[in-house]
């Protein structure tokens, strides 16, 4: 372990990962930008509602030495997570992969699914072409930091025409005190392929603080179909920053489900680019906050070409003194006609001291498009509570029933039963916390 996000640390990481020279070069480039950029302040429009003055980077430590990798231990840490037939599972703890499997059936079809470090060894071609292509260091200090220090996460490549029926699962976990984690998700779904990924971010220990400065990149080839669900369930001492990008080629279809349950503070920046005609993205979001949690999500639906569609529904439930921010943007580029694009954010506020900001936005440079947005924020309806209580439910049960119903309209858009059930389980677990 070493503290200090220094150039020496960059070199150390690169050396212990035994990286190709291009990777070190990229890191150093990103590091130089990291050094120059200040931490974002609230006078920056996209950080106006998220104050990170309480964040002290010096408190967090990089992992720069090899930790022992214990196979099988994951089952003790994460009961209920099992390997499934014809599927794959990667479990990562404090930046080390402690379990990684992919069924022979999928290996034989040419699927590649592996932790970042192994991928760097085995498939440097994939990484050199795709890694961090969409995460610009110059955009903000966290992006630069991610690009300079990333050392974990996973790579998934699904070859042309390969259809994976059962969801692949990934667990990214933190257990060490003050660990800084820069996990990266790289998903490349080649033409005509289909895959579902369920990725969970968890804390093993509810006390240890941590920093996650992550990145997600999803590339969908022509007519590829990807379901990607990320469940962020860190403990309440973890700072979570994540830049997430998806690019869709012609006819590609992405269903992206973002579940934000944990962390002390979370800032998520999500961009989906419809770059090919006939491409479509469904963006679903479920956020539940309590205590003094702060979750800020920025979504961006970019339509670069004609005849592409997207549909966003984010729903937040807030308790206690928690706060959520949702800022959405639909951009339709000049000449991109026949666009259908929607965004909707609804907030259910369960306490007087919770606060939800919802800011939809449109930027349309074409004339033959249909884009709409909507936003709501409201308290729980006391008539609904009375109705349920008149049938014998306690106030808490009534409230929970209404909240479940509120999330159900998001979940019902997920036609995959296994995935829906897993998400439901995580949400129920969260809502039972008080």
């Amino acid at each position: 372990m070493t503290s200090g996000f220094t150039r020496e640390s960059v070199a150390q990481i690169s050396e212990f990962q035994n990286e190709p020279p291009w990777m070190l070069e990229r890191r150093i480039q990103a590091f130089q930008i990291f050094e120059q950029l200040p931490l974002p302040k609230t006078n920056d429009e996209s950080w106006r509602r998220t104050d990170i003055r309480g964040l002290n980077l010096e408190q967090f430590q990089l992992v720069t030495s090899n930790k022992s990798q214990t196979n099988g231990r994951y089952s003790e840490l994460f009961s209920g997570v099992e390997e499934q037939e014809n599927s794959g599972l990667i479990v990562q703890n404090d930046v080390s992969v402690i379990h990684s499997t992919l069924s022979d059936f999928l290996i034989n079809k040419g699927v590649y699914f592996s932790g970042f470090k192994t991928a760097l060894d085995e498939r440097p071609d994939l990484l050199e072409n795709y890694l961090c292509q969409t995460i610009q260091s110059t955009e903000n200090k966290f992006n630069a930091m991610h690009n300079a220090f990333l050392q974990s996460g996973y790579v998934l490549y699904v070859p042309k025409g390969v259809v994976i029926d059962f969801p692949l699962r990934v667990i990214v976990s933190l257990s060490g005190e003050s660990t800084a984690d820069f996990s990266h998700t790289l998903i490349i779904a080649d033409d005509e392929s289909q895959v579902t990924i369920l990725e969970e971010h968890l804390s093993v220990d509810q006390q240890g603080q941590g920093l996650h400065c992550g990145g997600v990149e999803i590339f969908l080839g022509r007519n590829a179909f990807v379901n990607y669900a990320q469940v962020q369930n860190w403990n309440k001492k973890v700072w979570n920053f994540s830049t997430q990008r998806a690019k869709l080629e012609r006819g590609a279809n992405l269903r992206w489900i973002t579940t934000s349950l944990g962390s002390r503070l979370s800032k998520l920046d999500q961009l989906v680019e419809m770059n090919g005609e006939g491409s479509h993205a469904d963006l679903l979001g479920l956020t539940a906050t309590h205590a003094r949690q702060h979750i800020d999500i920025h979504t961006y639906q970019k339509h670069a070409v004609s005849n592409s569609t997207s549909n966003l529904l984010y729903r937040n439930v807030l308790k206690d003194r928690s706060r959520t921010v949702w800022r959405g943007m639909i951009e339709v580029d000049k000449g991109a006609q026949k666009i259908d694009s929607y965004q909707q954010n609804d907030n259910l506020i369960l306490s007087k001291r919770a606060r939800a900001d919802t800011i939809p936005g449109l930027e349309i440079l074409a004339d033959d498009v249909r884009c709409t947005h909507g936003a709501t924020a409201g308290k729980i309806d006391q008539e609904q509570v009375f109705y349920l209580m008149s049938r014998g439910l306690s106030y808490n049960q009534a409230e929970q029933t209404i909240v479940n119903g509120f999330f159900e309209s998001v979940l019902q858009r997920i036609p995959l039963e296994y995935l829906r059930n897993q998400l439901q389980k995580s949400i129920v677990g969260k809502l039972q916390l008080n």
Partner: protein, 274 residues
Amino acid sequence: MSDNLVINNLRVNVAGGEILKGLSLSVKSGEIHALMGPNGCGKSTLANALMGHPNYNVDSGSVTLNEIDVLELGPDERAKLGLFLAFQYPTAIPGVTLANFLRMAVSAVRIVDGNDAATTSLVPMREFRKELRGKMEELGVDDSFARRYLNDGLSGGEKKRAEVLQLAMLEPKIAILDETDSGLDIDAIKVVGESVNQLVGPNLGVLIITHYPRLLNYIKPHFVHVILDGRIVESGGWELAERLEAEGYDAIREKHGVEFVQQTDPKLDAPIQI
């Protein structure tokens, strides 16, 4: 054991305005009472106050069920005690299926101790499904009903049938039907009336609150009461309902010297189709 709901000299205000002005009534198991009156006389106020709606404030008087003070209890505890209200306007709960909700409700009223979300054990799924299916069949309710969201996107008639289905599943001691016929066409009233008729028996006391005597053609009450300006002004048997049908409320109003008071409740009766 015979159950007995006793309402004694009940006074209730809504947002400071007194609506019930000393209403007394008692309903025993096996009895069917009809409470009739024009709009704005306090019928729905009685229903809501009996069930414990927070906007209906009891100023004085008492309500007991088997000598237990009902007014001290929250709506959920009243339900567990055996009170049931079939709503005039059932509230929609989007995203919650009737079956899931009913399983929670049935579990809550049957398993009286430990009513917290985290601790309540639910009645076994298999057992519950069997029972629900049975009741739905008896009442002639379509199977798909169970999977639909609670009162969400249902027609007026479907909502009332859902209320009756809940009544059948929860097996209360005393059921209050608030304007169950409002907004229904004559065919729907027949269906709902016949369903309720299947449920009445020696173990259930029923209070039917209604403006029109139409529903009473299907569920014949033993007792009929007329409410005007927050009080019961006349009680009798079936002949009283017949008299109302023939003469309307004006004759009774004149007899008791009650000025016509416009309904203060902003909810208007849904249109009546005959």
